[in-house]
């Protein structure tokens, strides 16, 4: 069995450090506990998936880490600083459920967008964007417009865009949820290989057990009402993975453990 976690460097801070974080919507009239006392520590280089049924707070937790929502109690640190500071220092790239490409920009122009916002030189933007597109296998599509691309290709552009400024953390909110199964498998494979190559910290939200098990070094199972973490499962799978591995006993066992935890969380 391979040790999934890379050795934690004691001097570098955790990539994500969530402690007793709670988020209550509408606390006065009808309080909704989107998150209750959530604890989560993500080491640099880990691939952590958040999985659970709708309303379990997995997306909310990701949005809290990305400074898109704010907790009402507890603490959240990203790279040792607040999510707000982390966002301002461009610590993370965020991939949304929908590609969110600008229809008036070419594929290359869309990947350049964050670099232009960050004030990089035009030549630099161009070179980096071309390189990022090559890394997601879209060389030759630079001058196409989004509507000329399939849904899977659009999402790859959005990943290239999120990675264009080389953030240390990549956050993904059900990025392949709207894609067909075959496309999804291929993108999972590419994402897994990219993680293995670059060892960037990834926090990944999904409701697919197979996807979570295939991609993650650690799977965080969440449950709704109130949104909370019910179980954290370390993956025993080796870092080098293939889609065929989904039929191995080891893979099936991890998937089974996740399913058990989901069912257990649902009962409790």
């Amino acid at each position: 069995m391979t040790q999934a976690n890379p050795p934690a460097d004691s001097t570098s801070p955790l990539a994500v450090d969530v402690r007793k974080a709670s988020l209550v919507y509408n606390p006065l009239q009808a309080p909704v506990h989107a998150l209750r006392e959530v604890d989560l520590a993500v080491q640099p280089g880990e691939f952590v998936s958040l999985i659970g049924p709708s309303g379990c707070g997995k997306t909310t937790l990701l949005r809290v880490i990305a400074d898109l929502e704010h907790i009402t109690a507890g603490s959240v640190l990203v790279n040792g600083v607040s999510p707000h500071e982390a966002r301002l220092t461009r610590a993370y790239g965020y991939v949304f459920q929908a590609p969110g490409l600008f229809a008036w920009r070419t594929v290359l122009g869309n990947v350049k967008l964050p670099l232009q916002i960050h004030g990089r030189s035009s030549a630099e933007c161009d070179a980096i964007a071309r390189d990022q597109l090559a890394r997601v296998g879209l060389t030759g599509f630079e001058s196409k417009y989004p509507w000329q691309l399939s849904g899977g290709m659009q999402q790859r552009v959005s990943i290239a865009r999120a990675l264009s400024f080389e953030p240390r953390i990549l956050m993904m909110d059900e990025p392949f949820g709207a894609l067909d199964e075959i496309t999804r498998d291929r993108l999972n494979e590419q994402l897994q290989q990219m993680w293995e190559r670059e060892r960037r910290t990834v926090v990944f939200v999904t409701h697919s057990i197979a996807e979570a098990v295939y991609l993650s070094t650690r799977i965080v199972v969440m449950s709704p009402r109130p949104g909370r973490i019910v179980k954290v499962i370390e993956s025993p799978l080796p870092d080098t993975r293939t889609l065929d591995m989904r039929d191995t006993n080891q893979f099936v066992e991890v998937a089974h453990a996740v399913r058990e935890a989901l069912a257990h969380g649902h009962d409790g």
Binding site: L68, L88, F96, Q97, F102, A103, W104, I117
Partner: protein, 299 residues
């Protein structure tokens, strides 16, 4: 994600609609000639045919060739247009192209000013909740005052501070132009979806960057229809402004002098010129829209 907005191609529109349009035009021309006979007959009998016996062919021919008919026949208007453009140099006040240029100048200056004002107002409204509540009711109310009532006041006030000629006419054109642009741009600047604004938020983009890179490009499909409406409204404003000035030039002035002297053919010529100018201006806007939004489709 994109809005489907690209205007229809002109060539396609023309080939699809060419036949129906010409059929309707044919009917209009026939009805026009018939109406000219009906409306002019009495005057023709009383003035032109009073001294001699006449048959109905003579009556019809006379109603289509009168000096001051109630309704001039299409060929009379066409001939008047043609002679005004060919018999006189471009700078002559007897050349309708000269009047068209005068009106077009006021229209375009007012249109540009109105568009800029509309853009500034909409950007202010979108970025400030206070301005949204303070300005929008006044902007809407401003359009409930008839332009015909405002025009003389503007002319008097601007005239008293020495602004005559193009400036007051442009101001009145602007008054009609800025409204559609403001309303459309408020909607357009607010059209980006949550995911798009949140994405810029994760890049730590400034409000100006969000405006320049997301809100303005996203609003273009809303802007162009407003520009088409605005430029046509600006033409109305410019012509209305030419009425009370006793202006020497412009299609509005031409309409007014025509009606003073009962020169109905002249009135109709000016009207046709105004229609042509309106068509050219809106077509130019449509062409610009087509050019700018040619790459847009739904993503």
């Amino acid at each position: 994600m994109g809005k489907s907005a690209s205007g229809p191609s002109f060539a396609r529109t023309l080939s699809h609609q060419g036949l129906p349009i010409s059929v309707v035009l044919g009917f209009v021309v026939i009805a026009w000639y018939a109406l000219a006979v009906g409306l002019n007959a009495q005057g023709a009998i009383e003035r032109d045919l009073a001294d001699t016996p006449w048959n109905w062919q003579q009556l019809v021919a006379t109603t289509w060739a009168m000096q001051r008919p109630v309704l001039p026949a299409p060929h009379q208007v066409a001939l008047d247009l043609w002679s005004s453009m060919t018999d006189w140099p471009l700078g002559s006040p007897r050349n309708l192209l000269f009047h068209m240029a005068v009106t077009a100048q006021s229209t375009l200056v007012g249109f540009v000013l109105g568009t800029v004002l509309g853009l500034v107002l909409s950007i202010a409204i979108v970025h400030s909740r206070t301005l949204d509540r303070a300005l929008l009711p006044w902007i809407v109310a401003s359009q409930s005052v008839p332009v015909l009532a405002i025009a003389p006041i503007v002319l008097v006030i601007l005239g008293s501070i020495g602004l005559t000629g193009v400036a007051p006419k442009a101001v009145i054109a602007m008054y009609l132009c800025f409204f559609p642009v403001t309303v459309a741009m408020v909607q357009g600047l607010r059209s980006p979806q949550v995911i798009e604004t949140e994405m810029l938020h994760t890049y730590a983009a400034t409000p100006w960057q969000a405006l320049w890179m997301l809100r303005l490009p996203a609003s273009l499909p809303f802007l162009f229809p407003a520009l088409r409406v605005g430029v046509a409204a600006g033409l109305v404003g410019a012509m209305v402004a030419e009425l009370p000035t006793g202006a020497q030039a412009g299609l509005g002035a031409r309409l007014l002098t025509g009606s003073y002297y009962g020169q109905t053919v002249q009135i109709w010529s000016a009207l046709v010129m105004a229609a042509v100018l309106g068509l050219v201006l809106t077509a130019a806007m449509a062409a610009l829209e087509h050019l700018v939004l040619r790459h847009r489709r739904n993503a």
